[in-house]
Symmetry: C2
């Protein structure tokens, strides 16, 4: 039994215990974790300091250093976020359906925990706690594999959580950290069939693709977002500018920000100069089709096929003029990663066409794509945004961390 | 673009069209398929005859030949099964949830097709039609990869289905057969990310493991069944014998038949001789623990650790005497593939304990495990039995071939 199998075995044993724990005990555990984080602030900051020193020595970018850094305010915020999960409804035990068969068998479909969840993530130590408490609330054990840049922070946070779990009579093995941060161990984790019920990567495109390619355990793909806003001919001009601007510039690095703006020919002449004014405030670089260039002039870089596939992730956008809602949908079907798309229109028929034909996790009418988010959807917390169609799609709250079981009761039925 | 990518591209295009088709048109297509199968019986039998000749030349076992063989009765049965799918409710379009956010955004979660489904199966040509029509009814395109032994049968059946689809104005590419039956092409299919939304293997453990190990697209694992019946101390004797016998001997080759029988010490002395009488009628080979051997005598082969992991799939069983329902659950947690397990008991508390602690797709009280089946559950038809926890668990009907989409309508909301 290798290192990862040992972690898997321990997690599986622990998962049986929390699956049987009630909401009261699970909430006690979460409360204990929240309190322990505050109590051990000093210890956590010291561990984080080691990671920060290494980061400086390794010349980590300041943006990355900011992601890695913990402060007492940030630890407070993490502890408060745990209390928000306490307040969420426990999904476990829900009877989703129940029916009686002609032979007298009563079948109930009941919501149960997934079992053991693996999370692979990069250097943000807040994910360590966020992900762990969501898994726990849904009755699962979790194995965390964070980036080596955050190793000391993660080790300390996990230790604090483990002690809190023990203090309420739950096994420490419910939350385990993969302490070997080499790639071979990560690869073993991706092939931990029989122990891991699902593996969720949280991080950049490179990490997610590596997991999708290597994993033999079931994976929930997250994060890739080539999102679109389409401005229909009948769009209300002010609303169109406000939504397109918000979707691009409010926070361009996140997956629900847009990368391409599609504009109906009939409104292009009035809309494009207005959105350019808004974009200019953020110095947005525009890659445009020939017609966009005609309207906006020399500032437009000719858009290539490649641009339409690109997730810029910054103040950069592609703009294309189209002839109809059908052409807009075709563009989206071809280039989109099926994350979030929005139509701005006053035409009900076009809105319906867009909703019925765009095949993405979230489809909007007259709203910004930036709302694709667990908090904004009202899920209270989010473990990630699924961009695959299996199991969970779009923002994943507690329900995504559960499965169902059929419970069948009879009085001696046998099959003839 | 290689061969599989071409199939994937065609399937994806076709999937957009059927996703927008209504129930009426989809049912027309299924009816046309059913009629076309009957009309082309002669042609299908001729194609099957080629496969049967090859089978004889390649000295295929008679059991395998029987699976491969089509007759006009069997084609009739396949055509009738299609009509049963016509009669099923269309799951697409269901509004699962809908809520209003404080900012006025209305969010609806709507059931939509998965998109493109891949099925890899072995030599049963009836699967070709069964699987295709279920995928179609749920609004999906399907790519079928059958065993090369059934190549001519499959080619003919798919051609007949394609012509029927065209006759009702739907694209032939909705149902495609992988005509290259080499392993490399199958491997390409398993890595068809961007085209295949899910891959479902249907067949033996070897096929399923090969798919799980090689696939980079999402997979639904099916079929592995190491199932258990536990006879509790308070079990009603006649019921216990009837259920254990049915679960083992009614059809031992299928995944919901049991492989191990667990018996409470207090009832072992009376139960074991009775079940042996029943088993003897099928010459069931018994691998037993020391106590089983003490009670039943020399006929018992000592059970090894390996026996408890084994899926015999024939008239062979392991029997183990245990001290409590807790010990029975522990055994199941350790050795089961989490498919189906049953407790026979008159003790309500033990029944509840079993239901709450056994972590399998289907858990029974006082009924045979043989009921884990789409038809028996009332789903009308079944694409397989999922033994993983992601997406679908247990018998998979039409719902398992769908996903959901969030549709959000606003009046200009942007994120602050």
């Amino acid at each position: 039994m290798n290192y990862m199998e040992e972690l898997g075995q321990k997690a599986k044993q622990a998962s049986y215990l929390i699956a049987g724990a009630g909401t009261v005990q699970k909430n006690k555990a979460l409360q204990a974790i929240s309190e322990a984080l505050i109590q051990h602030t000093e210890q956590i900051l010291q561990a984080n300091q080691k990671d920060m020193q290494n980061a400086v020595e390794n010349q980590m970018t300041s943006a990355m250093q900011d992601r890695l850094k913990l402060t007492s305010e940030r630890i407070n915020a993490i502890a408060n976020a745990v209390l928000k999960v306490v307040a969420l409804d426990d999904p476990i035990g829900e009877e989703i359906k129940g029916w009686l068969r002609p032979n007298g068998l009563r079948i109930r479909q009941v919501r149960v925990p997934l079992g053991v969840i693996g999370i692979i993530f990069e250097s943000r130590p807040n994910v360590t706690v966020d992900a762990a408490v969501l898994c726990l609330k849904a009755g699962n054990a979790v194995i965390l594999r964070g980036g080596k840049e955050a190793f000391h922070s993660n080790q300390c946070l996990v230790h604090v959580m483990q002690e809190a779990l023990k203090s309420v009579g739950l096994p420490a093995d419910l939350v385990q950290l993969v302490e070997k941060t080499d790639r071979e161990t990560a690869a073993e984790m991706m092939r931990l069939n029989g122990y891991l019920d699902v593996l969720i990567p949280r991080g950049g495109a490179g990490l997610i693709q590596a997991v999708v390619k290597q994993a033999t355990v079931p994976v929930i793909e997250t994060g890739a977002g080539n999102c679109h806003v389409y401005i229909d001919a009948t769009a209300e001009l002010e609303m169109a500018v406000s939504i397109a601007d918000n979707a691009k510039t409010q926070r361009p690095s996140v997956c629900n920000a847009i990368e391409t703006l599609l504009v109906h020919r009939e409104i292009a002449n009035v809309f494009l100069p207005e959105i350019k004014k808004a974009f200019d405030q953020h110095k947005v670089i525009i890659h445009g089709c020939a017609e966009t260039a005609e309207i906006l002039g020399d500032c437009v870089i000719p858009a290539t096929e490649e641009d339409y596939y690109k997730e810029y992730g910054n103040y950069e956008i592609a703009i294309r003029v189209v002839n109809s809602v059908e052409e807009a949908v075709e563009h989206i079907q071809k280039y989109s990663t099926n994350h979030s798309e929005s139509i701005v229109t006053q035409n009900m028929q076009n809105a319906e066409y867009f909703l019925n034909h765009v095949n993405s996790a979230a489809v909007y009418v007259n709203a910004s794509t930036r709302f694709t988010d667990g908090e904004e959807f009202g899920f209270g917390a989010e473990i990630g945004i699924s961009t695959q169609k299996l199991h969970a799609r779009g923002p994943m709250g507690l329900l995504a961390l559960t499965t169902t079981q059929y419970r069948i009761t009879g009085n001696g039925q046998i099959r003839g």
